[in-house]
Structures are given as structure tokens and as C-alpha cells.
Symmetry: C2
Subunit: 252 residues, 2 copies
Amino acid sequence: MTYCAAISVSAGIVFCSDSRTNAGMDQVSTYSKMFKFESAPDRKFTVLAAGNLATTQATLAQLKKDIRQNADINLHSVATIGEAADYIGAVSRSQQEKHGNEGKEFEASFILGGQIEGSHHRIVMIYPEGNHITSSKDTPYLQIGESKYGKPILDRIITLDTSLETAALSALVSMDSTMRSNLTVGPPIEMLIYQADTFILDNYHRFEEDDEYLRELKKSWDSRLKEAFHQLPPLAWAQNWKKIADGNNGVY
Amino acid sequence: MTYCAAISVSAGIVFCSDSRTNAGMDQVSTYSKMFKFESAPDRKFTVLAAGNLATTQATLAQLKKDIRQNADINLHSVATIGEAADYIGAVSRSQQEKHGNEGKEFEASFILGGQIEGSHHRIVMIYPEGNHITSSKDTPYLQIGESKYGKPILDRIITLDTSLETAALSALVSMDSTMRSNLTVGPPIEMLIYQADTFILDNYHRFEEDDEYLRELKKSWDSRLKEAFHQLPPLAWAQNWKKIADGNNGVY
């Protein structure tokens, strides 16, 4: 599996993705799931991909080929992020249909984020069926892949006013919770921070498995979470029960 | 949907379940998903149920009927928790097959926990297919329903040596994270604590929607989690990046 998240706050966008790909438990490899499209000066896109590796690779290859061949519709010709999402959805569907007609095994999902000159930055999630949704004021993030383990922390921390640093940190914590609970999501972790209106995709970092900061973050979050847990108000009812049990000296 | 968890530590078992049942967004009702079997003096069982409501109700009705009619195999006649799980799995399958042959819409899962005299207390999870798994030293808990949101906290807190109070608290926090991220899981929350070797199922509590402790716990966990988050080591790389961005005075 895969876990990718994109957070769109007022200050810009944070992209975060893992790199573990598996086809069965003994075929585990490392593939980047983050792709930058930055050659056009008036627009910058980042794509995150989850699902069948053949489909995501074929889709990305087609996106690049369409730019190179200056196809009627390509990422350099679309007028809006929404149009770009429609286009990626159509490419993804046609790649899925090429190889499978029944079942879901070739499905893929994408997150597209970026900015086109004259418009605000934006993120959209593209479903395997080709349709898409965007983030909102109340839910300023999108996830694909193994999204549930890492959702609670995003729900608690992220608002539109969250700074890019805090958004980046919450994405890493969300990733850490996911890796803790699901073996099929793993490092290297890639992260890209896009500052709104800069049209530069340089703020990229790849955290390797032995990355010192990542290890420190993991350890620190684990101990602080336990600390937070042990400071919670005691369960009054269980306390009473314990007293009764103790009073009855084991008979209870 | 549903979220149920059972935690089996050395000191006993904690059962926790929500009570929201929905068939579509506008048909939301409250049904208990926790069932006690305590009439036999030499054995006490608790069953948690998730999935199709008709299947779980029919299965529970059959379990009770089999005891009443003293059927060849019933919860009072089985020799082990494993046998009880086999029996519940068979009843669940036959109920599913009665109404559907194709598709998965009538599926149900169960957690069975308890103790039979002469054996240790134990928990098992029964799949819709009727087979089952038990908990282990490394993973001393089982979940059914919407299990992913609430898994990270259990992974971090629970070991075999965890006290029943702490296990109960972690179950509530796990439930809180799930309710925060998924609308289809909701109060009342039921909790039952079984102290090993007591053969008494009296330590039961039902937290209503407006329960003061639950509200306090929710608030406290939310603020402590945010506190913990904001104490994490700053993202050195993003900090450096910020300095560069500031230094370039917006040009970047």
C-alpha cells in the first residue's frame, strides 16, 4: 500500500508521501510516489500517486509524453487545476481499461496540487473512476492510500491558518502513525513544501529510513503521546470499582 | 458502521463498543453491540458484534435459543473459547447464507471474550467467513468495524502488563479518535471490564452522549495532544528554508 497526503493552507501546500510498494509480502520495493511538473514558468504541479504501480507509472508517462508532444490537452495547456484533474482522471481511466475490464485490481488514485498564474494554489484528489474532489476550509487536506491511521492527527491540528512548518510537521506525524500501524507503508518519506505565489518547487526533502530527525520525531512523539495519555483524567468509575475490588480482598 | 475493541491483558479483559447503527445516512439508530452471557456459573462470555444488523441480531438470537433449548452445541456446552468461536462462526455463516448468496452485504464480525473455569481468560475475533484469530502477547487486543482510526493509540499504549484501568482508558481514547474522524461511529459507548478469575460481569458502564467524563476526556485528550504536538522538535529543514525565504524578502 501507500500513504500520501497533501495539505493546502493559506500559506501554501505541503505534499508528503511514503515510498514502499508491494505486490505480495515478499515483493517489496521502493518507488517514489511524488512527481513534479515544473518546466512551464506560469504553472507548477505536484502529483502524488497511490494504487496499482503499472497504472500510476503508465499515467505519469502519458502526462509527460503529452507535454513533450504538445498534445491538445496536456498539463501545460489546461486553464485550471480542475481541468488538469479531469485530464489526469481520463488518462488514468484509459490506462486502467487497457489492462483490465473487470474487478478493481488496476485502480489508482492521485492527488494533484499546485498553482497556475492568475489563480490561487489548490489541491484535488482524483478517484480511480476519474472524478475528483478538492479540499475545503473545514478539511484543508486530502489523503490517498492507507489514510485512516493518520487522519485523526490531521483532523485535530490543521486549519487554513496553520503555518507551512506546522502543516509539514503534522504530515510527518500522520505518516509516523501510519507506519507504526501498517507495515506496507514505509520510508523513504518524501516531502515538498510549496509556498503560495512563488512558483518554485525547490523545498523538497527526502527522509531516509535512518534519518536522524525522523527517528527523533518518532521517539519524541511516542513519548509525548504516552505522557499526554497518562495525564488524562482517571476513569472515576474504574477507580471506584478498583476500590471495591480491593476492599473485597480478591473475592469480589 | 461500528467500532468495537477488546483488550486482553494479564489482569483481565476490557470490552468497548459504540452504539450507532446506520443503513444510509438518514437511517441512524442506536443499538447495543455488546452482549453478556453470564447465566452459567462456570463460564462468562461477552460478545461484541459488527456488520449487518439483521445478521448480528439473528446470530445472537440463535446463541440464546441454543442455550435455552439445550442444543448439542451451545455456549454452555463448549469446552473452550476456541470451540465457542467455531460455533459462533458457524451460526453467523448460516445466518448470512439464509439471506444472501452473492456479495458481502450481510457480513458480520464478532469478538468473543471471557473465561471458562480451568482455563485462562481469552479473546477471539470471528471473521464473516466463520474462522477466527486470537490476540497475542505482542498484540493484546482485537478490533472489529472501523478499526484503523483508533489503532495507533492501542499500538502505543497496550502491553500484557497494562492495568485494567489504563486499558479501559486507552479503549476510550481509541473510541474518541474514531468518533472524531468517522461520523458513523457514535455514543452511547458501552464498556465492560472483566477481572480475570472473578467470573463476574458486573463492571459495566454506559457512557451517554452527554456524559460528563467522556466530554472531559475528549477535551483533555484534544488539548494534551495539541500540546504534545507543539512540543515536537522543529523541522530543522523547514526552519532553514524559512530563513532563506525571509532573507530573500518574498522574492525567494
